[in-house]
Symmetry: C2
Subunit: 268 residues, 2 copies
């Protein structure tokens, strides 16, 4: 009987053939209630370091699911080294921004407190849950690093000259982002998006003074912070990251790791 | 006394110097209650055809605001001719997608019903309200055309060969979008995003057969429909639209149309 992979799950334990593991409460709930899994069902698991593995549900109780890890489906591959440095926005907006940024392959999320930042507290637990959910769904094998909010001054003060700082500059001083990035060589990068009120003059000077800064323009319209973040990340990932690679489920099909007689099984 | 522009409002009446107009209920509410406007306050108005105008509140009653239109701030300029053709998604997601697409300068929104489309009804009134809100906030002078949902077959059947159809092709057959678009000449275009379940085989063949189709890849990860739409639009607008133009508030400052002695007034 052909079996499909029921779910793709991020787990926080080492993975190897023969590993037995219990899922956390919310993942168990998802498998039992949302996906109506039964013992014997196949799932795909990853932990951010050991690659992607095929596993089976060996025991399903009321609120608990045990998995047995079987074989590696694909070796570990991390998202390119591109950060998103952003002034926090309100809850639903930050949820949306984080999920979309994870899909676009961001490697770290750094909320920064600026002079004009209105939202200064970030629900890190919620941020983490959203990042995991998006990573599970988009097929990447890692979850981006999440940093506690810091002041912009502190983040810029510790900036490494080897990490390109792509500054979405509303003043129009920068080159259009697609022109600026198409001519850059790949390497560690970060997209910097200011708060809705813009950066303060002092902050602008500090950003401009960093040797790694590339000011860019995102076109003629005024973009909301979440739109600016996603547009800039789309360009950055395309030119500096893995935008030249094939869609991963196409790669999955090409690699043809059939799951119990079903070669068309997709991971997501 | 320096006066700031309190709001930027889309109105559906012809605009000329001396025009007097009453705002609709929700815009009046916004001015009176959210922005606490008073008689004499300056606002900016546009209607999609006559350019952007400076106006003043001449009468504020309980639920009504009358404006007097004074002078043109900038001549009419429409967003580039780039459509978004998309399978509808659920309410909050479609809200988000529409607002972000309007900011990214889409000229028309065409919801299409496909074989695997789950959501087939679209709240057009809500779509319109979201499009107007985003247009007011992002500084564009037009609101994109909104089309009632149609079947994909019908939309493709009437496709003009002169409008490039940028197909976000999950199979990985297309060139990476940034490579594909960087070499295209400008002209009418559309971004086509499939439903979460993907296009049916028959639909894929129909899309591929159109001479205007350019299949593109959006990188290795599996993107949600709204993420794919925004990433593809960001690239399309950059290469085929107005991505080379300055941020409009920078342009506004450069054009220096001072409002009552306050040269730093921004439109948004």
């Amino acid at each position: 009987m052909a079996k499909k992979i029921k779910a793709r799950l991020f787990v926080e334990v080492p993975l190897a053939a023969g590993t037995a593991l219990w899922l956390g409460e919310s993942q168990a709930h998802q498998l039992i209630h949302t996906l109506r899994s039964r013992e014997g069902d196949a799932v795909s698991v990853f932990n951010g370091t050991d690659g992607e593995w095929l596993a089976h549900a060996t025991l399903i109780k009321k609120k608990q699911v045990q998995l047995s890890v079987e074989s590696m489906r694909a070796p570990q591959k991390n998202a390119p080294d591109i950060w998103l440095v952003f002034a926090p926005v309100k809850n639903e907006k930050i949820d949306f921004m984080v999920k979309r940024a994870v899909e676009l392959g961001v490697s770290a999320l750094l909320p920064v407190i600026t002079r004009h930042t209105i939202v200064s507290r970030v629900n890190m637990e919620r941020l983490y849950a959203n990042a995991i959910e998006a990573a599970e769904q988009c097929g990447r094998m890692d979850v981006p690093a999440l940093h506690e909010p810091q002041t912009l001054d502190r983040v810029l003060g510790a900036w490494s000259a080897s990490r390109m700082l792509i500054h979405a500059d509303e003043s129009g001083r920068g080159l259009p982002i697609h022109r600026a990035l198409a001519t850059q060589v790949r390497g560690p990068a970060a997209v910097l998006i200011g708060p809705e009120g813009g950066f303060a003059g002092e902050e602008r000077r500090m950003i401009a003074l960093l040797s790694a800064t590339i000011p860019v323009s995102l076109g003629p319209r005024i973009l909301r912070a979440e739109t600016a973040a996603l547009a800039a990340l789309a360009h950055a990932q395309a030119w500096l990251g893995d935008g030249d690679e094939l869609p991963c489920h196409a790669a999955f099909i090409a690699a043809s790791l059939p799951i119990e007689g079903d070669p068309a099984t997709r991971a997501g």
